[in-house]
Assembly symmetry: C2
Homo-oligomer: 259 residues x 2
């Protein structure tokens, strides 16, 4: 199978880079083909701006969604973005690897999402009717592909537990898991989260490497998070609220997982 | 009072820019002093990387947190970052204004956080002992200041409601509200969220402008979100889990608000 690793750490000698190497080696040992997008190494342009749309006339007001959709349809996206879209189409699984900074991904990776997930490619796709509301949340360009986060965290696991002060890690990652990866259709695997990453000694590294190896070995067999698909009857269209008889009386992020 | 608006939209003729102008005008009419950080206009460097730490020897491995703390203490941060830290110290209220892209902030704004919220300034501050766990979550450099998000969203309000498919907007914004703003001590106000932002006609713009005016008028009187302060007895140290007798049996993001 084909695996794309999108890697967002500025230091080639970091724990993240070492774990990335462990993952690549294991994936190759399993017989998979691996491509990497090392965003810092590629000097990836982080912010989306007017330069992303070279066909846009100088006097036209930049509406990002509109310009993005027109550029995608007109084959007018920049080369760096097109190459990443091709990698995504090539991949059977996508791994986003990054250190958790301020409870989200580093800016350079957010910019990879903002720029590569263009309209017409990752959103604004498909029929909007009384029966369905676009190809999203379980359908879309990443349908049939797997996605997974490999995240290092400076803080302690307890602080990210069910009653930890930072909030549960699954809730903090929901905007990425559900909003970035499931939205264009990927099957999202449980994340591999490495806590107290700045205090990994040699024995810690060996233990974490084993976890990485295990997760790479089971990349195509691990059960995905059971997010509810949008267009299969669980949601009221066009309000896109969960049907009253599902998780009745409950609110919040977890109702979007089937139990 | 002093108000800093951090603005992250690439188009000066956008709805966001117009609403920013409305906000600035209203704030000035109230007698406040206003500074803006127009990130696209400033050509803000989005990604944190080795260039953020000019004093770091070329052969030293870049550990971002460590380098950030050393640069802060040694007065070695870059000028652009220092200027933003000064603006934050000057401000009595900080408004982050941005379009919601992929359920979070644009990369350029995430990079403002990643770079400006340096160690020693916004995290890694204060005593860690059995009595307290650093100056964070209610204490820190932004203590006594107010913070608020002004966010435009392409989608419909229903989709972001309590049972909406995107997840409740408050939960999606929790990593920013609680993790970015309350963490260094700010009192976080409820956000102003403008839905279906791409379909605001003239009448819609008038209505939204009134909302912006109202929120600017009440910037220093609106009741903040009642996030629990870390070092005042609600959390068990050092696990930093909520005491068993508070929101007993509950988990998730909302237990961190006092009822």
């Amino acid at each position: 199978m084909n695996v794309l690793i999108v890697f967002a750490h500025p230091e080639p000698r970091s724990l993240n880079a070492s774990l990335r190497d462990v993952a690549v080696e294991q994936l190759k040992a399993e017989g998979h083909a691996v491509q990497q997008s090392d965003l810092y190494g590629m000097n990836w342009k982080a912010q989306i701006d007017r330069d992303d749309f070279p066909s846009l006339a100088a006097d036209v007001r930049l509406g990002v969604a509109q310009a993005s959709g027109e550029a995608f349809l007109g084959n007018g996206l920049t080369n760096d973005v097109r190459l990443e879209q091709e990698k995504l189409q090539w991949a059977d699984a996508v791994i986003l690897q990054f250190p958790l900074w301020w409870f989200s991904m580093p800016a350079i990776l957010k910019g990879w999402i903002d720029r590569v997930f263009s309209r017409g490619f990752a959103y604004g796709v498909g029929e909007h009717s009384e029966k369905r509301w676009g190809d999203r949340y379980g359908e879309g360009v990443l349908a049939g592909k797997r996605a997974m986060l490999l995240v290092t965290v400076g803080g302690w696991a307890d602080h990210y537990g069910p009653r930890g002060i930072n909030g549960p890690i699954d809730d903090l990652l929901f905007p990425i898991h559900h909003g970035v990866l499931f939205y264009p259709g990927a099957d999202v695997l449980p994340p591999l989260v490495v806590y107290q990453a700045d205090r990994t000694g040699e024995s810690g590294f060996a233990a974490v490497s084993r976890e990485v190896n295990d997760r790479m070995r089971t990349l195509f067999s691990t059960t995905p998070i059971a997010y509810r698909r949008q267009n299969h009857g669980d949601y009221v269209i066009p309000a896109m609220t969960l049907r009253d008889d599902l998780a009745p009386g409950s609110t919040g992020l977890h109702i979007h997982e089937a139990q």
